[in-house]
Each structure stands twice: as structure tokens, then as C-alpha cells.
Amino acid sequence: MSLDLNTTWFLLVGILFTGYAVLDGFDLGVGALHLFTRGDDERRLSMNSIGPIWDGNEVWLVTGGGALFAAFPDVYATVFSGFYLALIFLLFALIFRAVAIEFRSKQPMAWWRRMWDISFTTGSVLAALLIGVAMGNLVFGVPVRADGEYGGSFWHLLRPYPLLTGIMTVALFMMHGAIYLVMKTEGELHDKVRGWIRPTIIFFVICYVTTTMATLLYVPHMTEVMRTHPQFFVVALIGMLAIANIPREIHGGRDFRAFLSSSAAIVCLLALFGLGMFPNLVFSDPNPEHSLTAYNAASSDKTLGIMLIIALIGVPLVLAYTASIYWIFRGKVKLDHSSY
């Protein structure tokens, strides 16, 4: 397969959103699990485990959105306006997640802290759910009009399949967040969180299997590529092996490798999404010929070329300094005078 600019940008947007899922995925997962911690110390440790890095992680969403706008403006326009209320709720969820972290421990009152704890969890769960719902809609198909605009309603977005992918995303991030917490905590909290790994994996696997079955049965266009290129099945296999590897690494006390496996599982999941969807970005049902693709919804070649140069300069820089910053904050989370 030759790598033209449109395909390159399909990949790059995918990489940006995958980076978001791997990184803010555990932030949202930690948020989703937050209310299961008990006592002010545990709550603070939970928030501070992501305290220094959640903001940088969220930038992957902002940049992914910006890249979508620049490379595939028609997709950005159709999806963001078409899924209007869902996007608005996503924004509110992200706002409340962000300010909850910043505000929670700034006052000592119990009611204040409980309010922001709930806000942190609600925002995190809602954000994960809505992101999964949006992705599910792109896959399952939404009515796209002849003029390229969304032709359905808000409730249309909450059909069983997208709801399923929404719940699966929550489950995935909870699993990923739990593994992250195991990596970053010690003592009593570490042991408690370690006990959450198995239920979160089970929850995710059930969702994943159900979604896979539903996709095989009801979303034929996603499995086309597997029929024509059976070698891609290996991606699904690696993903499953990665998930299976998690309990093995946790049991062996190799928390970081468990986290890597979880990250690999997310990458494989999104790779399958990309492989199945390509070249579609928004699958249209009915009227599949109205689908928005990497070719009919893209910017000009000149813009894609300029953006590619920007990406080639910018992304390696980002990866380099992000890795250094994570390295600086390696190790178990400890509460000190600068913590939340």
C-alpha cells in the first residue's frame, strides 16, 4: 500500500488519538476508580498519581482535534456539529475533571472535597463514555446526507452498538487506570488497587468480546479488511495476548510491564479500528456512498504537506521531552508540600 498524503494523515490523526487514549486513558481511568479509594490520604494519592502529567496528556486530544480540523475539515465539521450535544457534554465532563483536580484539596472542608471527588469521577467516566460512543457511531454508521452533513438526531447516537463501545471504553480505561495506580502506589493503597486489576480486566474483556461479536455480526464493513488481508488478524491476536499478559506481569510484581501490556492492548484496539475503517472516517448508514473518507473529506495536498512538515518537526520533540518529564516523575507517588 503506497503512503500518499491522505493515508499518511489518516495514520497521523490515528496516532494522535491513540496517544490520547494511552495517556489520558489512564487519567480518566484513575478518575473513574477514584471514589473506590477511601480516606483523604488515599484520595489525594489517587489525584496526585496523575497530578503532574494529566494536563500534558489531555493536549493529545486538543492536538488530535486540531489535526482533524486541519487535515480533514469536513469530518471535523460534520462530526462536531452533528454530534453537537454529545460534544457539549464531553466538554463539560472535561471541564469538571480538570477543575476538580485543581480545586479539590485547596479547601479543608469535607463537603468541598467530597463534591470535587464526585466531580472528578463523574467527569472522567462521562468523558470516557462519550468518547467511546462517538467512536462507535463512526464505526456503526450514521446517516450522512448528500451534502456531507449529519442526518440523524442526538438519540440516534445512543443506539445499542455505540452505547456498547462507550461502556467498553470506560471499562478499558478503568483497567488501564488500575494498572497505572498499581505502578504508582505503595503500601496499603497499592495492595487495595492490585485487587481491582482482576475485576477490571474481566469487565473489559466481557465488553470487548461482546463488541467484537456485535461487530462481526452487524458491522460487515469493519471486517472486510480481515477477509482481504488476513495477515491483519495478527493485530487482534497481539491485542489479546497483551491483555492476557497483564495478570501474569502483575502477579510477578512487574507493574511497569503490565502497564506496557495494557498500553499495547489499547494501541492494538485502535489499530483494528483504523484498519477496519480505512479509508472511511465516518461511515454512512444508510447510503454508504456518502461516507466521509480520507480522500473526499481532506484538505488540499499542499496543506497536508505543510502539516506533515509541522508534524515531523513537532511530534518527535514532544515525544522526547514528554518521555523526559515522565522519567523525572517516575516512582511511587508521594504527598509533599507541592501536591494537590
Binding site: V59, V62, A71, A77, T303, G314, I325
Partner: protein, 448 residues
């Protein structure tokens, strides 16, 4: 309430609220670099304490800036999807560049700035502070480039016809260096430095009036005065350059700013006035005939384009443009007086004891907030009815599948949530100020 009005109102509310925070972050960023730089150089623990204090406030403004900023990036797609289709090549590229180059940098190194005190060397921490400050300023670059392209489009060509018409990039650097972008960028940055500096001045003045944290307050005040004085003067220069540019590149906007109706006549410079849009005159104003022409071209007789040169549907709302522009200028002039008055008193060694002057400084924190908002109002209202000047009307940029009910709901929700955030922000800021820089929080208790 029609869809256009609701969508514009929502954009105004969300951007107005958002714009309270990034200017403070950018301004405080600069001041943090100065304060921490002084510590690195002098090793005086006073500067270290000051830096620690202002870093906490920076963290607060930054977080709300980010939370409200994502709303803006999404809103082009949610409410202005037709605009997004038209400008995606150009405008989207600037936004993506903002993300890749600036947001990652400032949000990434923010980790070290806020939490890395004990994890890295003093030098590394200072470099992080510089990178965060630079990232914040660099993000201003890209968003101003994007908005400036709306004002003075360049570096593109239009491809396609009618509903399928799109702007496509022809010359990336011509887009970045469009006729207005650099003037507007310096104007935005100076406004941001003012926002940060006057916040620092206000808090420092408050401490001096209460006789608390005196040493830190004095040192902060000196830094604040230097930044405020420099920024306020430079603001006048960049404002002038921008105005000359507007007169050349967006004549109806300048005509609206000074209610210059009569075409091809010398322009009157008003200090203030009330525009009677029916009779197309300015009432109760203090105007200097010919002075507008003089400021723009050096010649009081230079004819300027008047509003009557444009059909009514191509003219911006005059009253709102006129008033926001003039109040912005008035506040700008006042800030020059306040900052340089403060510098004068400092020179005469009277500043720290002159209570009325300190009170002026306490309240001055509000001034750049207002001038920044008014400036943007002038810029955006003055550009109407265009969303891309001369190419696309605002009314043509709306989303096609979004209903009035949806926008009304989101508008109400945003307004309520943002009001809540504003109250919480002021409450937490007040608490932090009352706590002051000298007490470092114990490890237990709230991680203020």
C-alpha cells in the same frame, strides 16, 4: 432568538470567559521567569518564596485557561461548521500548530514547574519555567495568526464555487505573516503582560497596605512596575501600528471605530462620544477634526474611507465598535499613567508609603481585564458582518444541523457553569492571597 444571534452570543460568552485566564498566565509566566531568574542570580531566598507563591496562582489560572480553551477549539466545529469547512486548510493548520508546538510544551513542562521543585536542580526548574512561559506566548502566536487571517486573509486562494468554495493555502509564511498578524500579536502579548503585571501590583499593594509580607511585596511591586510600565507604553506603540493597519486593510472597521460616515473626507479623532446611528453623527463627543487622518498618515487632510462607501449590510455595528474601541484606549492611557505614576513615586522613594497610590494599584488589576475584553470586542465586532473579511459572512458560517434549541441549552449551561467557575476562582485566589507567600504549606493539610 435566532440561530445566528444565539451562536454568536455563545461564542462571545465562552471566549470572553476564557480570555480572563490565558493573558494572566502569559503575564505571570514572564514575571515568574524574572522572579526565579533573580533567585538563580542572587540566591536570595526571598525571590524563591515569591516564585513559589506566584507559581501556585499560575497553576490556578492555567488550569481554568485549559479547561475553557478546549471549548473554543471544539466550538468552531460544533457551531460554525460551514466556516470550518471553508477555512479548515488555513485556520485548522494554525490551530494544529498551536497544539503541536505550544500546548504540549507549556502543559508538559508545567509538571516540573508546579511539582518538580524537589525532583530537579534549580537550574532545570528555571529552564522549565522559561519553557512554560515561552509555550504560553507561543500559543498566542498561533491563535493570533489564525484570527488575523480572518481579519486580513493572505497566502491562500479560493478553490471551488458556491457552497463548495474553500480557502486553500498557497504560501504558508504569507498566512503566518499576514498584513495584520504581527502587529496584533504584539498588541495581544502586551495586553497579557499588563494583565499579569497589574495582578502582581494589585496583590503587592494590598500586602503593603496591610503591612504583611512587606519585603516580598516590595520586591514584587518593583518587578510589576517595570513590566507594567514597559508593557503599557509598548501597548501604545503596537496599538498605533495596529490602527494604521486596520485603516489600510479593513477600512469599514476603522470607520466604525471613529464613526466616520462621510466617505473620502479627513477623519475626526474622538476621545469619547455617543453614536447616533440614525442620523449617522456623533453626539456629545469630544472630537478633534483631522486628527484621525493625522495619526494614520501624518496629514490632517488625508481623506479616509467612510462607512457610506459600503452598503449597510457590509457595515459593522457602529455603536458597539466605537464604544469598545474608545474605552479600550481610555483604559490603556490610564494604565500608562498608573504604571508610570507608580514608577515616579518609586523613584522618589515614596511609593510604599503613599496609601492612596497603593489603593489605586489594588484596583488596577481590573483595568487590563476590561481593556483586553474590550479590545477583542472591538476587533471582532468591527470585523462584522464578515467571519473572514471580504470572503465569508458570519451568517454563512453557521452549522447547518444545529437547532436554536440546542444552542440555547448549551449557552445557558456554559453561562451557569462559567459563572460558578468564576466565583470559585475568585474565592480560591482570595484565599491564596490572604495566606501569602511566606508560609509554605505543611505536607498534610491542603496542598494549596
Amino acid at each position: 432568538m435566532d440561530l445566528l444571534l444565539l451562536s454568536r452570543l455563545q461564542f462571545a460568552v465562552t471566549i470572553g470567559f476564557h480570555y480572563i485566564y490565558p493573558p494572566m498566565s502569559i503575564g505571570l509566566g514572564l514575571i515568574l521567569v524574572i522572579m526565579e531568574g533573580m533567585y538563580i542570580r542572587t540566591k536570595n531566598p526571598l525571590y524563591h518564596r515569591m516564585t513559589r507563591f506566584w507559581v501556585k496562582i499560575f497553576g490556578l489560572t492555567f488550569a481554568i485557561g485549559v479547561a475553557t480553551g478546549i471549548v473554543m477549539e471544539f466550538q468552531f466545529g460544533t457551531n460554525w461548521s460551514t466556516y470550518s469547512r471553508f477555512v479548515g486548510d488555513v485556520f485548522g493548520s494554525a490551530l494544529a500548530a498551536e497544539g503541536i508546538f505550544a500546548f504540549f510544551l507549556e502543559s508538559g513542562f508545567l509538571a516540573i514547574l508546579l511539582f518538580g521543585w524537589d525532583k530537579v536542580s534549580e537550574r532545570t526548574h528555571f529552564i522549565s519555567t522559561c519553557l512554560v512561559a515561552f509555550g504560553a506566548m507561543f500559543s498566542a502566536v498561533w491563535i493570533v495568526v489564525a484570527n488575523s487571517w480572518q481579519q486580513t486573509p493572505a497566502g491562500h486562494h479560493i478553490v471551488g464555487e458556491g457552497a463548495a468554495a474553500r480557502a486553500e493555502v498557497v504560501d504558508f509564511w504569507a498566512v503566518v505573516f499576514s498584513p495584520s498578524s504581527m502587529d496584533r500579536l504584539s498588541h495581544v502579548l502586551m495586553g497579557a503582560w499588563q494583565a499579569g503585571a497589574f495582578l502582581v501590583l494589585s496583590v503587592s499593594a494590598y500586602y503593603l497596605l496591610k503591612g504583611r509580607h512587606v519585603e516580598a511585596a516590595r520586591a514584587s511591586m518593583k518587578i510589576g512596575l517595570v513590566v507594567a510600565g514597559a508593557a503599557s507604553l509598548l501597548q501604545l506603540v503596537s496599538g498605533h501600528e495596529s490602527a494604521v493597519g486596520v485603516s489600510k486593510n479593513q477600512p469599514p472597521k476603522m470607520a466604525a471605530f471613529e464613526a466616520h460616515y462621510e466617505d473620502a473626507t479627513p477623519g475626526t479623532l474622538y476621545l469619547f462620544g455617543w453614536v447616533d446611528e440614525q442620523t449617522e453623527t456623533v453626539k456629545g463627543g469630544l472630537g478633534f477634526p483631522g486628527m484621525l487622518s493625522f495619526l494614520i498618515s501624518g496629514d490632517t487632510k488625508q481623506p479616509l474611507t467612510g462607512l457610506r462607501a459600503f452598503p449597510p449590510e457590509d457595515r459593522p455595528p457602529v455603536q458597539l465598535s466605537f464604544q469598545s474601541y474608545h474605552f479600550m484606549v481610555m483604559i490603556g492611557m490610564t494604565l500608562i499613567a498608573v504604571s508610570w505614576g507608580g514608577i515616579f513615586l518609586w523613584w522618589r522613594k515614596k511609593l510604599f508609603r503613599t496609601r492612596w497610590a497603593l489603593w489605586v494599584l489594588v484596583f488596577s488589576v481590573l483595568a487590563p481585564q476590561f481593556s483586553n475584553q474590550l479590545g477583542w470586542m472591538a476587533a471582532e465586532v468591527g470585523r462584522q458582518p464578515w467571519i473572514v473579511y471580504g470572503l465569508l459572512r458570519t451568517s454563512e458560517g453557521l452549522s447547518k444541523v444545529v437547532s436554536e434549541g440546542m444552542v440555547l441549552s448549551s449557552l445557558i449551561l456554559f453561562t451557569l457553569i462559567y459563572l460558578l467557575l468564576l466565583v470559585l476562582f475568585l474565592f480560591l485566589l482570595d484565599m491564596k492571597i490572604k495566606q501569602g507567600p511566606d508560609d509554605l504549606d505543611p505536607a498534610r493539610g491542603h496542598g494549596a
